[in-house]
Subunit: 304 residues, 2 copies
């Protein structure tokens, strides 16, 4: 039997927040979902689409009426939202649980400590659903976005156990697989699997677009290049903000990658047939295993 | 009305050669397609599947009976095949046209000059169909593999105009779009759009697989990572050989990319918000335009 609360508030109603709202309503985790933001139009659309039950532009009203506040804004905006919320609930016994869905956790942990003068608020739980879409906006939200996707919770020492459990239960209710990780490990893992690949794809496409032969290059590129560069079609503002928020781990990832690329470059230059074959074979084995696990987890059709 | 010849010979009957055979028969470009190779099993399968009409293991018989020989072997094997064919047809007026489908052109041009003591054979036409699949082997071949795909012909000064036209006509008969390019430009463009992305994908996956956190990394990776690394599941032998055959252009591509990555790294380190935003925005615009053109050309469903 899932935990059930009265009211969940979504702060920032886009794809991520809208899909969470839909999933929580579909699975009867709460009696109602309210929206909050600075501007009415997307919230009005959310009500019209049945994604949320009501909305307000008044943060104090949200804090009074909700059991859980979920910050679903872009990464850097989440810091600003924390600056408004945390002082309002500091020291209150009846304060709601606050959590977030941003892509980087270290910057928000630091922001929370800074805002609260070093005393991390026990009921602020850092979380990150590993799900998304090339589409954005509340109209693209869907109730099954999180089904069989991972949600990473990054507890800190000061966290209240009940607050952590409530957030875990909330995500479990969406059909997600909830796992714990340290803040540092989360940011390193996401840098490696997501932030670095975006940087590489953006860098490659920009390098080719600026070359003298760019017309011929893009005219001759085919399906492999399309898949490899798909993430370079992502939102530049979102990825600029993630690169700012996760600077340290991203730089570490870029450096690790650059060392490996330099080794492979040396093998190409030396025509080191065995060295190249060993690298490509190890990589293929790791990638095939990853793809098989992902396909099984997501029920996707298996890749050949 | 398409050119029509009596016999086309496929040397190396896999996905590429098998698909060419099927397309030429389906479009009645020739009266018959024969297969040639060192081993009977794939050739017997080709006959059983109706991909080719007959086969032989005797190269002299192929040269006597075919109007066009198409070398469809892996990249480095193509050099060895040229060493067997070119001495047999040197100076013969009735020699068949010889062409190939390998991924790199510069090494084959050099090989042809070396084999023929500096006199490039006028009826050897360098070509490269930009098509493929993650599947391989004659059983995966299909008649429409080349439809709306590009085939690049790289004429050299010594080429006979009629030989060039015959090879262009052959590929046009498969539904491909045939374009000319210089050998150097072909190898540079393919390095940029195909060989470099494979090196980057292999390098990334191998770097992550060797990291201490590799289990967590691959467990948390999602769809974006799957698409980005799909080409790291490609055949290691094929890509080792391409890296050997196209060493010069590949090294240039790696260096161009590394310079751009270093610039972007500097922007991340400096938290240069405007610089990152400008790079990501330029890349997104170029990638969106590329994807739209590719979707229109291939009749794929448009990407959002």
């Amino acid at each position: 039997m899932a935990t059930r609360v009265s009211t969940v508030a979504i702060l920032g109603l886009g794809l991520i927040g809208g899909s969470l709202a839909r999933a929580l309503k579909a699975n009867a985790f709460c009696e109602r979902v309210i929206g909050y933001g600075h501007r009415a139009p997307s919230l009005e659309k959310g009500v019209a689409l049945g994604v949320i039950d009501s909305f307000t532009l008044d943060l104090d009203e949200v804090i009074e009426s909700a059991d859980i506040l979920v910050i679903c804004t872009p990464t850097l905006i989440a810091e600003q939202v924390l600056e408004q919320i945390l002082p309002r609930i500091a020291g209150r016994q009846d304060a709601p649980v606050v959590t977030d869905a941003a892509s980087v956790k270290g910057n928000l942990e630091s922001a929370a400590r800074r805002i609260c003068d070093g005393r991390y608020p026990a009921n602020f739980v850092l979380g990150h659903p590993i799900a998304g879409s090339e589409q954005s906006g509340v109209a693209a939200s869907k109730a099954d976005l999180y089904v069989n996707h991972r949600v990473i919770i990054t507890p800190v020492a000061e966290n209240d156990a009940a607050a952590l459990d409530l957030v875990r239960d909330m995500w479990a209710a969406t059909g997600a697989e909830v796992v714990d990780m340290s803040v540092a490990q989360h940011d390193a893992v996401l840098a490696a699997t997501s932030h670095l690949p975006h940087v590489l794809a953006y860098s490659l496409v920009d390098a080719l677009a600026q070359s003298d032969a760019s017309d011929e290059i893009f005219r001759c590129a085919a399906g492999g290049f399309r898949d490899f560069t798909r993430i370079a079609s992502s939102d530049p503002v979102m990825w600029r903000d993630i690169a700012i928020a996760n600077k340290g781990a991203l730089l570490d990832s870029i450096d690790l990658f650059s060392e490996h690329l330099a080794s492979l470059r040396a093998a190409v230059e030396a025509q080191d047939s065995d060295g190249m074959h060993a690298t490509f074979t190890r990589a293929k084995a790791a990638r095939d295993e990853f793809a098989a696990i992902l396909a099984e987890r997501q029920g996707d059709k298996a890749e050949s």
